[in-house]
Amino acid sequence: MRRLLAYMGRRLAAGFLTLFGAIALTFLVYWAIPTKPATYVYPDASSITPAQAAHANHLLGLDRPKVVQYVDYLSHLLRGDLGHQWSGTRLIENTQLSQRPVGDVLYPDLRITLSIILGGAVLVLLLAVPFGTFAGSRVGSWSDRTISLVALIGICTHPMVVGLILEGTFGHLRTFRIAGYCPLVPDRGSLCGGLADWSTHLILPWITFALLFLALYTRMIRLSVAETLHEDYVRTARAKGAGESRVLAFHVLPSASLRVLTMIGMEIGTAIGVAIYIEAAFGIRGLGRLSVVAMTGTNDALDLPLILAVVSIVTVIVVVGNLLVDLLYAVLDPRAGRETVRPRTKSLAGGVF
C-alpha cells in the first residue's frame, strides 16, 4: 500500500510538472507572436496610439515582468481561477476594466464535451470488448476478417461526415431530438434537462464517437487477445479443464484489459480532438469548438487568456485521466507499483485526429 501511494505521489508530481510546463510553453509561444491586446480595450479606435497601447498593457497587467505574469497565472489557476477574457473588455472611466471571467465561458463548454466523451467511451467499451474478443479468438476466419474490414471503414470515414449523415438521416425520421445540448442537471432558465433529454440529445454524438474509436479498440483488443491465447498460462488453464468462455473471461481478458487501459490513457487527447468534429457536425457549442475558435483567429485577434485557459483545462483533463489510469493499472497489475514506468503505447491511428 505504501508502495502504491509512493507511486501515485510520483505520478501526481509528474502531472503537476506537465501542467506547469505546458503553460510555460504556451506563454513562450504566445510572446513570440505579435498581438495587439489594446484593440480589445479600445474596440472603437481606428488606430491605437502608443500611449493607449501602454495604458491597455498596464490595465491588463501585461507590463509586469514575464516571470511575475507566469507565477501569478499559476497561483490563480491552482485556485480554479482561469483569468479574464480579453474579448468583451470594457473600459470604465479610463481607469479600470470590466472583463468577463474565462470560466463563465469555459466550464459550461467543458461539461458538454465531457458528456460527449465519457458517454461515447462507455459505448465504445461496451461494444469493443465483445467484438474484439470474438475476432481475436478466431483470427483468420471470415467473421474476423469482416470485423477487421468494418473497423477499417470506421477509421477511414471521417467523424464529421458520419455525424452529418447521422444527423440528416435521423433528423429526417424525427427519431431523436438532434439540435443542441440539454444539461444533465437543468439550470434555472434552461428549456430542457434531465437524464432523458440529456441522453436523447447526445445519443447520435455518442454513436459518431463510438464508430471511430470502436474501430481502434476492436483492433487493439483483437490483437491483444490473439497474442495472449498463445501464452503458457492459457494452455495451463485449458489443460486444467477450463471451458473456452472461462479461459477468455478469466485468463485472457484481464491481461488484454491492461493494454486497453494504457491506450485509454494515451488517447484522452485524441478524444478531445475528435470532439471538435462531432460538436461541429451536431451544432453543439463545446470545448472543441471553443478551442478552435481561440486558436484560429488572426494574429491581431488572439485572446491569450482564452488560449491559456483551453491549454490548462485540456492539460488538466489529460493529467487527471492519466492519473486515474495509473491508479487502476496499479490496482489491476500488482507489478505496476514496482516498475518505475508502465509501458506506454498508442494505437497508430492515434496520430490521425
Binding site: 506537465t18 510546463g21 505546458a22 507572436i33 483470427v139 474490414l149 477499417l152 471503414i153 477509421i155 477511414c156 470515414t157 471521417h158 464529421m160 461526415v161 452529418l164 449523415i165 444527423e167 440528416g168 438521416t169 433528423g171 429526417h172 490483437l223 490473439a226 497474442e227 498463445h230 490513457g265 494515451m266 484522452i268 487527447g269 485524441t270 478531445i272 480532438g273 471538435i276 468534429y277 460538436e279 461541429a280 457536425a281 451544432g283 469548438r289 478551442s291 478552435v292 486558436m295 484560429t296 483567429g297 494574429n299 483551453v310 485540456v314 492539460t315 489529460v318 492519466n322 506506454r344 498508442k346 497508430l348 491511428a349 492515434g350 496520430g351 490521425v352 485526429f353
Partner: protein, 359 residues
C-alpha cells in the same frame, strides 16, 4: 607483408559479402517472401495504380473528355446549384443564359462534355478529374509528412536510443508527455499561424502550393511516434553481440549505426511509414474540415469532402433535396482503398521481414 595479407583477406571478405548480398541478403529474402503473399501483392498493385492515376490520370481523362479539373461549367449544376450526378452530358458553354427575371434558361443546343462522376459542387467542376488530381496531392502530403517526420525522428531517436543517458531521459519524457496531448489542437494552431507563410513554397510547381507547408507541419507533429520506435529499437540492439563485436574491431559509432543498426531499424520504419501515409491522408481530411488545409486550387481528397460537407465553422447540414451521395462516396472510397492497401502492405512487409514473429 602482413599488411598485404590482411588487405588480401579483406578484399576476399568484401567480395564474399558482395556475393552474399546479391545472392540473397535479408532484403532479397524478404522480397521473395513478400512475392508469395498474394494479398500483399494485390495491395502493392493497387497502390501502384493509385500513384499512376494520381500522376497521369487527371491529364489523360482531361484529354479524353476535353476539359480539366479546374474548368467551371455553369450548366453542370441545376438552378438550385445542385451539382449534376455521375455520367451526365453537360453543355460546354461558359456563358449563362438568364431571362428577364433572372431565372436560368436551358442552354442552346450545342456541344456537350461528359462528367463521368458528376460535378463537384456549385462551381460545376469535374469530380473525376479532381478526384484523380486529389490522389496526387493527398499522396504527396502523406509521403511528405512521413519523410519530414523521419528527418526529425532519425537524429533524435538515435541520440536517445544509442547514446542513452540524459538525452534519452529528456527525449523519452518529452515524447511521452506530448503524445498524450491533443496534437490536433496544436496542429491547428501551428497551421493557422505558419501555413500562410509557407504556402508560397512550391519548388517551381513540383508540388501544388500549400502542400509543402502542410506536409512539414504534419511531419513535425507526428514525428514523436517514429522517434519512440527508433529509440526503443536501438536500446535493445545497443548491447547486442554484433554491436559489441563491431566495437571490438574498432568500428566507429557512425559506422555501427549506418552499417549495422540502420538496416534493423529500417524494417520497423518501413512498416510504420506505410501506415503513417494513410493516417497523414486522414489528418489532411481533418485539416480540410477545419478550413486550414491545402488551398482549394489543388484538390485533395479532404477538400473534396469539405466542399460537400462544409467546414466546422460552416457545416452544410444534410438536406434531402441537395443530397449528392457520389460526392461523399467516391473520395471516401478512394481513401478507404488507399488506407486498406497500405495496411495490408505494411502487414505483409512486417511478415516478410520478420517471418519468425507471431501473427
Amino acid at each position: 607483408m602482413a599488411a598485404a595479407i590482411v588487405s588480401n583477406l579483406d578484399d576476399q571478405f568484401r567480395d564474399r559479402m558482395a556475393l552474399s548480398r546479391t545472392a540473397g541478403g535479408p532484403w532479397r529474402a524478404a522480397w521473395t517472401r513478400l512475392r508469395q503473399d498474394r494479398w500483399s501483392l494485390v495491395a502493392l498493385a493497387v497502390l501502384a495504380a493509385i500513384v499512376l492515376a494520381g500522376l497521369f490520370g487527371g491529364a489523360i481523362v482531361g484529354r479524353v473528355v476535353g476539359h480539366n479539373g479546374s474548368d467551371p461549367f455553369p450548366y453542370a449544376t441545376n438552378a438550385d446549384l445542385r451539382p449534376a450526378g455521375p455520367w451526365t452530358h453537360v453543355p460546354t458553354t461558359r456563358a449563362v443564359l438568364v431571362d428577364d427575371y433572372g431565372r436560368l434558361l436551358p442552354p442552346k443546343q450545342g456541344q456537350t462534355t461528359l462528367f463521368v462522376l458528376g460535378a463537384d459542387g456549385p462551381l460545376g467542376r469535374d469530380e473525376l478529374i479532381r478526384l484523380l488530381d486529389g490522389a496526387r496531392t493527398s499522396l504527396e502530403i502523406g509521403l511528405g509528412g512521413v519523410i519530414f517526420a523521419l528527418l526529425v525522428a532519425l537524429p533524435i531517436g538515435t541520440l536517445a536510443g544509442y547514446f542513452g543517458g540524459v538525452a534519452d531521459a529528456v527525449v523519452s519524457r518529452f515524447t511521452e508527455t506530448v503524445m498524450a496531448f491533443p496534437l490536433l489542437l496544436f496542429l491547428i494552431f501551428a497551421t493557422a499561424r505558419v501555413s500562410p507563410s509557407l504556402r508560397g513554397i512550391a519548388f517551381g510547381w513540383v508540388v501544388p502550393k500549400g502542400v509543402f507547408g502542410e506536409a512539414l507541419l504534419i511531419g513535425a507533429f507526428t514525428s514523436f511516434y517514429p522517434t519512440r520506435l527508433i529509440r526503443a529499437h536501438l536500446r535493445t540492439l545497443r548491447n547486442a553481440e554484433f554491436v559489441e563485436a563491431s566495437h571490438m574491431i574498432g568500428a566507429s559509432n557512425h559506422r555501427i549505426m549506418r552499417r549495422h543498426l540502420l538496416p534493423h531499424v529500417a524494417s520497423t520504419l518501413l512498416v510504420w511509414g506505410a501506415i503513417a501515409v494513410g493516417t497523414n491522408i486522414l489528418l489532411d481530411v481533418g485539416l480540410s474540415f477545419i478550413g486550414v488545409g491545402v488551398p482549394p486550387a489543388a484538390p485533395t481528397w479532404g477538400s473534396l469532402l469539405s466542399t460537400t460537407w462544409g467546414t466546422i465553422n460552416a457545416p452544410h447540414p444534410y438536406n434531402g433535396h441537395y443530397f449528392t451521395p457520389w460526392q461523399t462516396i467516391f473520395p471516401t472510397l478512394a481513401i478507404l482503398i488507399t488506407v486498406i492497401s497500405l495496411n495490408q502492405l505494411s502487414e505483409g512487409v512486417r511478415r516478410a521481414l520478420e517471418p519468425w514473429a507471431q501473427g
